[in-house]
């Protein structure tokens, strides 16, 4: 279930004075079962790119291949594609509309033409995945807290059983706890269900811990593509395009400049702490005694 973008471009308002090129000759491949982070600052084209991937927008030039098939080809079922490549928009809670949570989550399965029993099954399963129990089923979506609303909305997309899940800034506007809950939910979906996940974010910190591969977008094309460690080695170039590497990269870089021999390609606080202790002669497991 791979998605391949071949030299894709997308131009907004083609032919008017507001014409602007959002995606510029982009080629990449999203293989099956990967957890990928897509990073770029505001206006780098990442939101446009993900909409191209599930056929909500059509490329101005170039091709998008889903399992080897051109999604623009005659006879290609684009509605099925949208179910297959689930896209959770920014602030997905703004899409809730039903009188209660369960019915809202059932909206997707209902549109797929499933029987009421199957709808019910899919909805309860999706709500269980996002951690909303039976007490929430009959509540109005508008009574929920911000984080709960977002989880209910994500359940609405999960109930479609997409093989690929794209999340556009899923943690925007949430407090640290809500953020962790969503991120844990996403990595759980990847680990347990082997879903391909594309996580869009402008925060390096968010994605560094979780993803296997990072794509950095800048002005409509991909600037870097590699493992988090490879990408963050370019932290100075990243800064120039308005992004930052995780905090730990900076601390380790600073220590190295001061003459302490540490590795600089570490991402999390835990890794960094262990590395610093190592240079002072402590071995793993001895931290507690410090």
């Amino acid at each position: 279930m791979s998605i391949i973008a071949e030299n894709v471009s997308y131009i907004y308002d083609q032919g008017s004075a507001m014409e602007s090129c959002a995606i510029n000759g982009l080629s990449t491949e999203i293989p099956d079962g990967r957890f990928i982070g897509l990073i770029g600052h505001t206006g780098s084209g990442k939101s446009t790119f993900v909409q191209l991937l599930n056929g909500l927008l059509e490329p101005s030039s170039g091709r998008i291949l889903f399992n080897g098939q051109d999604i623009r080809a005659e006879g290609f079922d684009r509605r099925k594609l949208r179910a297959e490549v689930g896209l959770v928009f920014q602030y997905p809670e703004h899409q809730l509309f039903e009188t209660d949570v369960l019915t809202d989550v059932k909206f997707g399965p209902k549109n797929l033409g499933l029987t009421p029993d199957e709808q019910e099954e899919r909805a309860t399963e999706a709500l269980r995945q996002v951690g909303l129990n039976e007490n929430f089923y009959t509540m109005s979506p508008f009574e929920l807290s911000g984080g709960e609303k977002r989880r209910a909305a994500i359940a609405g997309v999960l109930a479609m059983h997409p093989g690929v899940l794209i999340l556009d800034e899923p943690t925007a506007g949430l407090d640290p706890r809500g953020r962790d809950e969503i991120m844990d939910l996403v990595s759980e979906l990847h680990a347990a269900e082997k879903k391909t996940i594309l996580l869009v974010s402008h925060s390096m910190e968010d994605v560094a811990e979780y993803v296997e591969r990072i794509m950095v977008m800048n002005s409509g094309s991909i600037l870097y593509d590699g493992t988090p460690r490879e990408v963050f080695a370019h932290f100075r170039e990243l800064e120039e395009i308005g992004l930052a590497a995780p905090q730990m990269t900076y601390i380790m870089q600073y220590l190295k400049e001061k003459g302490i021999d540490v590795r600089t390609d570490l991402l999390t606080v835990k890794e960094a702490a262990a590395e610093i202790l190592r240079t002072y002669g402590f071995r793993q497991g001895e931290e507690q005694d410090v």
Binding site: A17, N54, R82, F97, F107, G108, N111, F142, V157, M160
Partner: protein
């Protein structure tokens, strides 16, 4: 889907028409509309057409952009023309069943169509070259005398500018919610009228909620900045007449005099 409608949308560019004081443009549009009703001969429409063409050239807005906006009102135009074509009494040209097309009908329908097209293009040109903010500032300034009659001029213009400001926001929001529901398999394009309306619910409910939320936020933000109506309020960009505006007034006056002259000639013939 909303890109079709150009009426009420600003076209960003730099041109003599864009730089003109909005009060001149608003009054100018009114004068132009009145002139369209004054002249009612084909010579008169030629005169008005040339004036409009010059304005379009000066505005720097590509003509096909203006034309695209016209397509939205084409149906209305067509209905008007058909009614005038068939329902004007006079010398018949073509006749079938009880319907007849008369020479007078053809003339009248043609004039009506020209007048409507000019009217719409004329007002579209104003909104294309004037930002909504400039427009409401001009309205407020032009309606100022009504304040003496206790008309809440400032409040009306504030409501207008907020409403205008919300149009693109809500359009964008509609687009976003539509896409979000399409991801969940919603279908906004097929089915008969009833199912189509029913299918709009997943779009309209979130849209209304979002509109209320935005209105609430805006009211809060205005209050936080101590907004209390127009009393004693100053402007960041006060409207000031420049030399070009004076010239524009003169050109406008000359044009209107010409239109009156054509009218007078028509009456004497």
């Amino acid at each position: 889907m909303f890109k079709e409608i150009t009426l009420g949308q600003y076209y960003q560019t730099d041109s003599p028409l864009h730089r003109l004081d909005p009060r001149v443009k608003v009054s100018g549009t009114f004068v132009y509309i009145i002139s369209l009703f004054l002249v009612s001969t084909f010579t008169g429409y030629l005169y008005a057409g040339v004036f409009l063409a010059v304005c379009i050239l000066l505005s720097g807005v590509p003509f096909r952009y203006i034309w695209r906006g016209m397509r939205a009102v084409l149906v209305l135009l067509l209905i008007t023309v058909i009614f005038n074509l068939f329902l004007t009494p006079g010398t018949p040209v073509v006749r079938f069943y009880r319907l007849q097309i008369t020479i007078e009908g053809i003339r009248f329908a043609a004039k009506m169509a020209i007048r409507l097209v000019f009217l719409i293009i004329g007002s579209t040109l104003m909104t294309l070259t004037t930002t909504p903010n400039q427009l409401t500032d001009a309205m407020e300034s032009l309606m100022h005398p009504l304040k003496k009659m206790h008309v809440p001029v400032h409040e009306i213009s504030m409501m207008m500018s907020i409403a205008l400001r919300f149009i693109p926001i809500l359009m964008e929001e509609t687009d976003k919610i539509m896409k979000a529901q399409m991801v969940r398999g919603a279908d906004f394009e097929s089915g008969n009228v009833i199912t189509r309306i029913r299918n709009m619910v997943p779009l309209l409910v979130p849209l209304f909620i979002s509109a209320f939320r935005r209105a609430n936020d805006l009211a809060m933000a205005m209050e936080a900045r101590c907004y209390q109506g127009g009393e004693g309020r100053t402007r960041m960009k006060p409207l000031v007449y420049h030399r070009n505006d004076r010239n524009a007034w003169l050109i406008l006056a000359a044009y209107f005099a010409g239109a009156v002259l054509i009218r007078a000639m028509m009456l004497t013939v």
